[in-house]
């Protein structure tokens, strides 16, 4: 545990203050903080190696290209897949758009797109677009009152509806629930559904092994996993990935262009037109490096300990309502206090230096399903400490008192 406590010092933001008080950052689900090595890597790139990639014969460009492509192999290794199956995107949102728009031409009005009731808008709206263009229908795998995916019902839906696409989040950004996606993927594969997993929240906490999970597509965002903003990834089994129709077009992704027509290169190049987010990729490489040096089991245990510690203290406060699955959770707690508006509590907490998120968390359908307006959300990462939670709980109690008073 002491080693983990040291890790905190790798994250310079964590020594900042808010409103004159030490910052307690409990909003890692929105974006994670970045270790110094990531910041240094970006700095280094722009100070020493800045150059475009895949374009120049000169050494600067060659260096940048080698590093850029090396990070692709790093991420592929982290996910246990092949590097030509990894596409760089501008974020999980773009990755999901590439998939949904890429399969649209294979959908028709008889087809079902099956998603869960826990999805982020990024895994809903692109499918609505696909449905609208193709005539396919969207069906929803239901949750229970607590906000937990009803697995028997979900599997029955997969078997009965035989969806063409089954898209589900690995972990819920709002509730933290870890979905048993292996079961869903297995069932979906039996009916030949294309399986799409949104790993935006799970990637950092669960380090998925995609060759084991065996899904067709898996997406994530670098900024939620210690990396820079403006970068995400799209993993796809090579044949399925390469079969997607192109999303954006332009330079670098083409083979030959004449005025009449163009031919495209193979994946991943096919999906990476134009100048990519080079510093983003290099920074993410440093983040993966950083993660590779830490024992995932130790980190996971620590995060779970923090989570339980926070959960127990919250549960002990009279009037606190907690949503979601508290057994299988990445360390995210959504809650409300009686029927107080989340906005007021979030504002008061901010005055104590506590940064957490409030609202619908880009999951309006889920929030509506739970019959509420929104929640307050604590989302933890391994760089949080027990002291963070103590400070938060004290501030929460004071805020409640202020409101009640």
């Amino acid at each position: 545990m002491n080693i983990i406590a040291e890790l905190r010092h790798d994250f310079p933001v964590l020594s900042q203050s808010i409103e004159g008080q030490p910052l307690i950052y409990l909003d890692s689900g929105a974006t994670s903080q970045k270790p110094q090595c990531v910041i240094d890597e970006i700095n280094d790139f722009y100070s020493k190696n800045n150059s475009n990639v895949h374009r120049g014969l000169h050494s600067l460009s060659e260096n940048a290209t080698s590093k850029y492509e090396y990070v692709r192999t790093q991420l592929a290794k982290f996910l246990s897949v092949n590097s030509k199956e990894v596409v760089w995107t501008s974020g999980a949102t773009e990755s999901l758009n590439i998939i949904a728009s890429g399969v649209t031409c294979d959908l028709n009005s008889q087809d079902i797109i099956l998603i869960s009731a826990l999805e982020h808008h990024a895994n809903i709206v692109p499918w609505q677009q696909a449905a609208q263009e193709s005539g396919a229908k969207i069906a929803i795998m239901p949750i229970n009152k607590q906000g937990i995916l009803d697995i028997p019902a979900a599997i029955a839906m997969i078997e009965d509806l035989k969806p063409k696409v089954m898209a589900c989040t690995h972990a819920s950004n709002t509730l933290g629930n870890i979905n048993p996606i292996a079961k869903l993927i297995d069932a979906a594969k039996k009916v030949n559904a294309i399986t799409v997993i949104d790993g935006a929240q799970a990637f950092l906490h669960l380090r998925p092994n995609l060759s084991q999970l065996d899904c067709d597509f898996y997406v994530g965002s670098a900024h939620k996993a210690l990396g820079p903003t403006g970068l995400g990834f799209l993993y796809g089994k090579f044949d399925k990935l390469n079969a997607l129709s192109v999303f954006k077009t332009g330079g670098e992704m083409i083979d030959k262009v004449t005025y009449e027509s163009s031919s495209y290169r193979e994946a991943p190049a096919k999906f990476e037109p134009g100048t990519p987010n080079i510093s983003g990729v290099l920074g993410f490489g440093a983040a993966i490096n950083y993660l590779n040096k830490l024992d995932p089991i130790v980190l996971h245990q620590y995060e779970q300990t923090l989570y339980s510690y926070c959960l127990n203290q919250l549960q002990a406060i009279d009037g606190i309502i907690i949503y979601g699955d508290t057994q299988n959770n990445i360390g995210t707690i959504s809650f409300n206090y009686r029927d107080e508006h989340h906005y007021d509590i979030a504002m008061l907490l901010n005055s104590y230096g506590i940064a957490l998120r409030s609202g619908h968390h880009c999951t309006q359908p889920l929030i509506a399903e739970l019959g509420i307006q929104g929640t307050l959300r604590v989302s933890l990462a391994f760089y949080n400490s027990h002291n963070d939670i103590d400070t938060f709980i004290t501030a929460l109690k004071s805020s409640i008192k202020l409101i009640a008073g």
Binding site: E19, Y343, M347
Partner: protein, 134 residues
Amino acid sequence: MNYQEIQNQLKKTQSWQQCYREIMLFGKQLPVIPDCLKSDDALIQGCESKVWLHIDLDESRGTILLIGDSDTRIVKGLFAIISSMYNDITLTEAKNIDAYAEFESLGLIKHLSPSRGNGIQAIIKAIQEKLSQW
């Protein structure tokens, strides 16, 4: 409560918490508005919290009348502050009010940040637009 009193109250606060406490108290002192006034077309766009706003001209007295509510305590309190600025003054005076500057001098300008999504900016804009029509 008039705007002068509000200014005095806020000046006395020594921490953000005290300040919020006062703001929430201002909100509590607003008259309760009937549910029928909380209609969708009275909703202010662009707020995470809900804000209902009605602006009327009391033609006999030449003053304006603000009726509003919010589902959050703080925004309701902030609305109470705005409302007090416009209370019992003439239309011309109302048009001359620079609500942003007032919030600035109250030390509350941060609450006008669009990212806070609380709609204070939208409320002020709506009032100013309405005033300009009279």
